[in-house]
């Protein structure tokens, strides 16, 4: 018995066989990621003439790429972005890991408190949280007032509109993204292993270093990759806490596209941002893989 093609297609879709269940996601990805990326690519590698908001001619050109690769402004900007992102990642690991460890060793109520405190900030917009830092770090902000009242300083410190203000803001905004994957790993951690370690003579620190840390490399890698990606490409925090003249890659793209309307320039900058981000992520992934090699040994 032969059935019509539409009928067979419908059957396949309804039975969820083959690639059909993935089709909606593939369509969404095509529309929102692959096609825009292709357009971006074509913009970055061509000379375009726009007349009355419509592209009238588009010719292949490497001009924008060579400019970007040779211009010292690009070098310093990308260096700044990279430093900022790596610093943010570093401080997020430094501050996030102890929280995750506390989650591991804490009583149930401690765990609940940590979860609430970690998730609550995510429910608030990043812009609101960043504005809060302006109030805290400003010339008459909480930090300066306290330091002045204590007599530790005689004049307000200039914190806002410096790189440190940006780092502080970035760490605060991205810390939950570091902590959540770590907590996911910690909640699966077998505490018997810690007991075994102690029984074999390890101190708490020894157990942390030799057992807990190696077994949470996966969460650490995921968290670090997320924090790095978000802070390397971030736009809001540097814009608000850096005082408007803090130029990183994302703010550079924003200026090129929105202010100077140089779409090709912006496209090239975005491509460089994406590819350098990918390179760093590959390094992260490689390091994480090194640390989790034991999970991929041949099973008996």
């Amino acid at each position: 018995m032969t059935r019509s093609l539409p009928r067979r297609l419908l059957d396949e879709i309804l039975s969820g066989s083959g690639i059909w269940p993935a089709v909606p996601a593939i369509v969404v990805l095509l529309v929102v990621a692959v096609i825009p990326f292709a357009i971006l690519l074509s913009l970055g590698f061509s000379e375009i003439t726009v007349a009355r908001g419509v592209i009238v001619s588009q010719d292949f050109s490497l001009r924008y790429l060579t400019t970007a690769l040779t211009d010292p402004l690009y070098h310093t900007t990308f260096q700044r972005s990279l430093t900022l992102a790596l610093m943010t990642t570093f401080f997020c690991v430094l501050l996030g890991y102890p929280v995750a460890y506390l989650f591991l060793i804490g009583k149930p109520w401690v765990r609940r408190v940590i979860l609430v405190l970690t998730i609550a900030p995510i429910l608030t917009s990043g812009i609101v949280r960043t504005y809060a830092w302006i109030i805290i770090l400003g010339g008459r902000g909480v930090v300066n007032s306290v330091l002045l009242d204590l007599g530790l300083i005689s004049a307000p410190l200039r914190i806002i509109n410096t790189q440190w203000a940006v780092v502080i803001g970035m760490v605060q905004v991205h810390l939950p993204v570091m902590i959540l994957p770590l907590i996911a790993v910690m909640s699966r951690h077998d505490r018997r292993l810690d007991e075994a370690s102690a029984n074999l003579g390890a101190s708490r620190l020894g157990t942390l270093w030799n057992v807990v840390l190696p077994l949470s490399i996966g969460g650490l890698g995921t968290g670090a990759a997320l924090v790095f990606t978000l802070s390397y490409t971030t736009f809001v925090v540097p814009q608000l806490l850096g005082g408007g003249n803090y130029l990183n890659a994302a703010t550079m793209i924003y200026e090129q596209v929105v202010y100077s309307l140089e779409w090709s320039k912006g496209a090239v900058t975005a491509l460089i941002l994406m590819s350098t981000c990918l390179i760093v992520l590959l390094i992260f992934a490689w390091l994480t893989n090194l640390g989790t090699r034991w999970t991929r040994v041949a099973q008996r």
């Binding site: 074999l200 989790t292 008996r300």
Partner: protein, 364 residues
Amino acid sequence: MNVAADVIDMKTGAPRSAPVVDIRGAVKRFADLTVLDRCSLSAQEGEILTLLGPSGCGKTTLLRCIAGFLTPDAGEILIDGKDTVPVPVNRRSVGVVFQSYALFPHLTVARNVAYGLKMRGMPAAEIETRVTTALATVSLTGFEGRYPSQLSGGQQQRVAIARVLVLEPRVLLLDEPFNALDAKLRGSMQMELRQLIKRLGITAIFVTHDQEEALTMSDRIAVMRTGKVEQFGTPEEIFDRPANAYVADFVGASNFWDGYASGGRVVLPDGQTVATGLSGEVRVMIRPHNLALRPAGPQASSWTGTIRFRRHVGALMEYEIGLDGEHGLRALALRDGSTASLAAGDKVSLTLRDAAGCIVFPRS
């Protein structure tokens, strides 16, 4: 060879050689639940001791107190005469083999075994020698580079044992170490482990809920119930002279026959008598193998019943016999010609094989 005489202090009558592990009135409570209730036990040098009881009896809690994972609320746990309570868990000379083995999944077999030595800051060359020896002891030479996930359950258990033995602990604690093994492997591992512990002369404390395992492994058994030690003695004492009905029921299958004692004896339905110091309402424990079955016939005793069902137990056959107005009795017989014809529904008569094998408890 009896050495007991010269290790007894003539003045006090106490053993002169102090026990390796001495638990004195240990109490542990979780919230308002008393998990350990004044437990007292001791293990002598080289002795294998078993804490036997159903889940929730406090045996694992007691083990965790000895290891130092828990601190008793009252009482003392002495190792070589010294109180362990102030000693932190990583400074106790106590090796634990966990129920799930708790091998470090990210370390190879060799590095798992080397872990404790590394924590003690031993030079690498010496660690290697000791690890090699320890792995040879548990017949795992050649498995150094494997990860725990690449080992069978039995091999994992042996790594867990090598990992603590390499540290030469004063006391070895084993928390249901055979639970994760299949039945056939379990038997051979039990024998093997007992021989290994005896060869090395280590004092060991086992935790199990399996009475057969306890009888196989131990020099002495502590039968526990709801945080209390019900009886502490050799396997023979526990099995042949249980201190109370609970121990009798938990260790080995038992029948309980309710009767009435007077004049220093109880008369069983088949006419035989069991001597007792008790009088009044009593409960007589009869092991299933102590009951003989015969097809009910002219020469039958007055103790008769009907076979409810029969069950193959290896070389033996177990029968459940329903009696009139009473709960059933279990009888165990060798599978031979005399019982082969017996099947469910048959009328049988019961006789006691050996009245001395029965124990009389007061009925409470």
